[in-house]
């Protein structure tokens, strides 16, 4: 039985909820008990979005405990920093290099954190850090919206679940005409070593 706690964090519009639905379905497919919990009340208004996914023999809490997340998929640099306490010592962070600047840095004095600062804090917190230019890879494939499949592909390489199981669920969750590009994105994420 694969037991794992996942945290996904992004910004409204980044597909955090779809990505976590896919992760939850993969857990169901491999026979795990699964729970998933998200906060999306106002995500459509550009707010921060998080989603917790848990696989296990029996999962009680729908929320991961702080400091107990095995895999933290951060779809955005600032959000990686915001939620980093959730990673367990020794856990794996998948850090997408995308930056989405909040309006508070535009009208106010808030500063968006620098890349080097984010990476150094994430490295300090986690055991393994994968730094992934998911959006760039997706754009090179021809559609920036498949960035999440790049991230899921990279995540799949860290886990003992077959690529077929991952792809079966991804295919079931995307429109027919986008299946091929999502498959390519998945493998682009899976087959490269992103570790830093």
């Amino acid at each position: 039985m694969v037991t794992a706690n996942f945290l996904l964090a992004g910004v409204g519009g980044q597909g955090t909820l779809l990505a976590s639905d896919i992760l939850a379905d993969i857990g169901l497919r491999i026979g795990a008990d699964v729970k998933k919990s998200e906060v999306h009340g106002m995500s459509q208004r550009g707010g921060a979005v998080t989603s917790h996914v848990r696989w296990g023999e029996h999962v009680a809490s729908p929320l991961c405990e702080k400091g107990a997340v095995d895999y933290f998929v951060a779809q955005e640099m600032l959000e990686a920093l915001r939620w980093i306490e959730f990673i367990r010592p020794g856990g794996t962070v998948l850090l997408s290099q995308q930056q989405i600047v909040p309006t508070s840095t535009v009208y106010g004095a808030d500063q968006y954190p620098g890349n080097d600062h984010v990476i150094s804090v994430v490295k300090q917190a986690a055991g393994t850090v994968l730094l992934i230019d998911a959006k760039k890879v997706a754009e090179e494939l021809g559609n920036p919206r498949v960035a999440n499949s790049v991230l899921l592909g990279a995540l799949s390489a860290q886990m003992d679940v077959s690529a077929d199981d991952w792809l079966a669920v991804i295919v079931s969750r995307v429109p027919q005409k986008h299946v091929e590009i999502n498959r390519q994105a998945f493998y682009a994420g899976r087959e490269r070593n992103w570790e830093i």
Partner: protein, 608 residues
Amino acid sequence: MKKLLSGNEAIARGAWEAGVEVAAAYPGTPSTEILENVANYPEIYSEWSTNEKVALDITIGAAYAGKRAMATMKHVGLNVASDSLFYASYTGVNAGLVIVNADDPGLHSSQNEQDNRHYAKFAKVPMLEPCDSQEAKDMLRLALDLSEQFDTPVILRTTTRTSHAKSIVELGDRKALPKRPYEKNPQKYVMIPGYAKRRHPVVEERLTKLAEYAETCPYNRIEIGDYSPRSGAERGLSLGIVASGPSYQYAREVFPDASFLKLGMVWPLPRKLIAEFASRVRRLIVVEELDPFFEEHIRMMGIPVEGKSLFPIVDEFSPEVVRRSAYAAGLVDRPPVERAFDKGALPLRPPVLCAGCGHRDVFWVLRKLKITVNSDIGCYALGVMPPLTATDTIGCMGASIGVATGMRRGGLEGANVAVIGDSTFFHSGMPPLANAVYNHTPLTTIVVDNRTTGMTGHQGNPASGLSIHREMHTRVDIEAVVRAMGVEEVHTVESRDLDEMEKVIKQAIQSNKPAVVIAKTPCVFVTSHPREAYQVVTEDCNGCTMCFRIGCPAIYKSEVLDEKYKRPKAYIDPLACVGCGLCFDVCAPQAILEGALKQEATLTTHVA
């Protein structure tokens, strides 16, 4: 067949399986998705009602008439519907009636975190509380069975964490039920004092019988902890925990060895079962979010119990909140993992008005006019956020006009306006507006009509005329409504026309009469984008920051600094910009290039 469902999806499925035929709701986070999912079942008549009370009255009527019915709402929605809850408790039902009530501990999207378990006690009706999606589906059926067996409305209470968390559910089939014929019975269904007085003893008797039922309800159960031969049962009995809903799940993980009294029926409470459990464990604690509801009841039974002396009374629980309190109380060996990192100050990412949102135009003008703004519940509540910061008060649905009237009567110096959305106007804005007309209050009300119930996910409402099935029903014309109420000073204006809007708002205020300005501003999600993105001509921009102050999420500080003032110049993200043009209007050096009008632009979802 097993499927991952959210609590809300499971409730919708449960309603279908249990033979519900009528369902009504007003949208409200975290309850909204229940009716959205119910609408996919053709066997169920479903509708967005104008408010929660209307929804509840409709389902009460449907139950009287003989069909199983369900009303769904968020916690504060039950405040609106509470008048109906109390009479329905007296009349009872005929066919089953379930009221799904979604509380929001942690105020993810609400104005308070009231604990609606009190309503069950207050209205003397039973309440069930699931702890996962399977229970949510199963309890929906139980609620309807109990409703018919005991002739009472039944409340199913969720919280955000049950409504929006997914877990595995075994799906079942629909069991359609024969209609229960309606029989005229004024002594039961007409709550004039003489008849109602005779119903009160019926309600009290019913509560006694329900309390007896609670003792054997399969969702109230004792789980004795840690029977392993190594540690013995002794350890499991040293701590007994009473919990329900998500708190039960958190406590299960934090106290793996403890014994539990897991409550699924949270009102009336099973006194004998509680006493039995208390007698078996050495220390009894209650782990419950928000109010000490179980705790006070148990203490009143004369049983020593701890709860709020150990666990917080505010905010949502989580595994680490429960663990932190448990560790501080010496109940567990391990504290939560709390590592501190030197992150520096992080910019917050609060929700903002969308790029192109017409509400921004309205608040831009109101801020410029420096008038007091009594606003209301909806996307336009975001007008209070920086940099617009235009709003003075927001209370609950429909409060704007009454509060604005009161501020006029209360001697406010300077002008004030009420701001209310189209959906909120039909929800509860009409009575206070009629009141302002009737009582000659010189108040200006701005109806920000974006033709949708935006914040909860763009549901239809009387202003858009769109049904829950996205079909065009009848639009109720706001201007005709306010004129019919007797408002003489009525102006309808496109929000995008800043000069005209400013002019008519001033004119309305100066009229010194009850006045209404309808600021039409179709939500960017319900119309196609009429224009191409705007662009900053970098060499013309001097970094004056005017466009930064409209708080548009499509406008950024660029890397390029103005040579004279060393200020960052503006940059417009062409993917995020929908071409509304407010930045163009406010740009002093005229450095913003207007986007081209798209010829094919049309309203996609409604007819003008």
